[in-house]
Amino acid sequence: MLKFDNVSMRYPGAGDVLRNVSFHLERGEMAFLTGHSGAGKSTLLKLIALIERSSRGQVLLDDQNLNQAKDRHIPFIRRKVGLIFQDYKLLQDRTVFDNVALPLIIAGYGHHEVSRRVRAALDKVGLLGKEKKYPAVLSGGEQQRVGIARAVVNKPPMILADEPTGNLDPELSAEIMHLFEQFQQVGSTVLIASHDISLIAQMNYRVLKLDHGQLVES
């Protein structure tokens, strides 16, 4: 599903952020990406979401070489990747329903299909009944679950989460992680960047560890 082949990433003036990173995530696999701050976790995720392009090496997503993707293809590649952020990145002036519906509307789904899928996604994250609420009145955990619902509503084959529990207490974090497990069980490939070592240790999944841009454990 996801294959990094000798990927290096260099920012002008900052040196190599990633150095010769190679790994392969099978379809339906769940893994954690860990490492100290500045180890290159976020950069690695950015390469998958095509927010950045690697300086060297190849990133393959669903057998598609991302380095060769043209700009106009980027939106269609991103639709295959559900992104979850530490700061949730919700639209504060839209309801929960509208936030979750955004990827579907962008993909051009009809009204009924949108309604059905949004409800299904909200049901899965346990927020059914809060469609009409605005993000600001929800707790942090609830907002993150809205973010997760938005990421999975389009049923993307790949789910990426960047410190999804960074702003949550341990109990809520465990709940969120449990949600990711459920998505993995229904066939999604899940990659979660996190430096919450204790939480990762509780869960028995593959760990990719970055140290100064190099993959030291996979």
Binding site: D5, A49, I51, Q58, L60, D62, D63, Q64, N65, Q68, A69, K70, R72, H73, P75, F76, I77, R78, R79, L83, K89, L90, L91, L102, P103, L104, I105, I106, A107, G108, Y109, G110, H111, H112, E113, R150, N154
Partner: protein, 330 residues
């Protein structure tokens, strides 16, 4: 190592496109997207009433200036159009020439084979006519002495069409001892027409300038709007929005701004014309009642709204084209 199986991206795209329901559903969705962008951009305009109103008024003033000059020229054009382009020559007689000598001179002109008709206008007739039509009756009465000269209006034969022969005739008259100066009416018409041509061109240039102004004001308004909503744009990009999806509401905003500016400009012009109508019609009545105030007609109104709307859309398109690629989801 190179076992890269490249999937054609086109197909991926196609798959993504048809993944959501049947064709009718997709079509409705597409139509709804446009309708939503149309009305949500209108809603946003209404939500920020004050700044929208200011922008629209500024644009409306620019548009009404351009179209105001246009309608002014159209009105003057009508005035110039009423003037007959005849070959009539007016001979202004020197003040010191006696009436008897004038009559003799008029007779001699009448005998000229090149001349069709001759009409003598005495000082008194000229004054009476001037009093009746110029609207300066009272002022003229206050004068102690009649300042107007005797005029002999001469219409050359039609055979005398070519300009050289006419110019020769004009020269002959000018050399006569009795004539102060000879004036061909046609020259006035021609001069007026050249002035009109200059005015028309000036208005065209001015309109282009004002149009460019409208374009850039809209562009700047949309740039601010884009900046205000950059979070939304970034999030939409992250969840796979195409540029056309992101641009759509902004283009509609540009359309609305342009359209409402056009409507406001129409009201400004029409109000000004209504204010001017009454005195102009009075003035016209004092002449031969041949002049009527022209308002913006149906086609012109349509063109005004169309041009304003197009300028709005193009203005926002320019900004989106250059600024959107800078809004990266960082």
């Amino acid at each position: 190592m190179k076992h890269v199986t490249k999937k054609p991206i086109k197909q991926e795209r196609w798959q993504t496109k048809i993944s959501g329901g049947n064709f009718a559903d997709k079509f409705h969705a597409y139509r709804n997207l446009h309708a939503h962008a149309l009305f949500s951009s209108l809603g946003r305009l209404v939500a920020s009433r004050f700044s929208s109103a200011m922008t629209i008024v500024v644009l409306a003033i620019a548009i009404s200036l351009a179209s105001g000059f246009y309608i002014l020229v159209a009105n003057l054009q009508q005035l110039a159009g009423n003037l007959e382009a005849s070959n009539q020559i007016s001979l202004f007689i020197k003040d010191e020439i006696s009436d008897a000598r004038i009559n003799k001179f008029a007779d001699s002109v009448r005998r000229n084979p090149d001349i069709q008709t001759v009409k003598l206008i005495t000082k008194e007739q000229a004054l009476a006519e001037f009093q009746a039509y110029s609207g300066f009756g009272a002022a003229v009465k206050a004068l102690e002495k009649n300042p107007l000269p005797v005029v002999i209006q001469v219409l050359p034969r039609n055979s005398l069409e070519n300009e050289q022969a006419l110019a020769g005739l004009l020269d002959d008259f000018e050399r006569s001892a009795e004539v102060d100066f000879a004036q061909m009416d046609m020259q006035w018409v021609k001069r007026l027409q050249s002035i009109m041509e200059v005015a028309r061109r000036g208005v065209t240039l001015l309109s282009l300038l004002l149009g460019a102004g409208v374009l850039f004001i809209t562009a700047n308004t949309i740039r601010l709007e884009l900046y205000k909503r950059r979070d939304e744009v970034v999030i939409a990009k992250l969840v796979g929005a195409t540029n056309s999806f992101i641009c759509r509401p902004f283009l509609y905003s540009g359309f609305w701004i342009g359209f409402f500016s056009g409507v406001t400009a129409w009201f400004i012009i029409t109000t000004i014309m209504l204010i001017l109508k009454q005195p102009v019609e009075t003035l016209s009545r004092l002449y031969d009642d041949t002049f009527h105030v022209l308002f913006l007609g149906f086609t012109e109104t349509l063109a005004l709204l169309l041009i304003s709307s197009v300028l709005g859309v193009v203005g926002s398109w320019i900004v989106l084209h250059f600024q959107l690629r800078q809004l990266k989801p960082e």
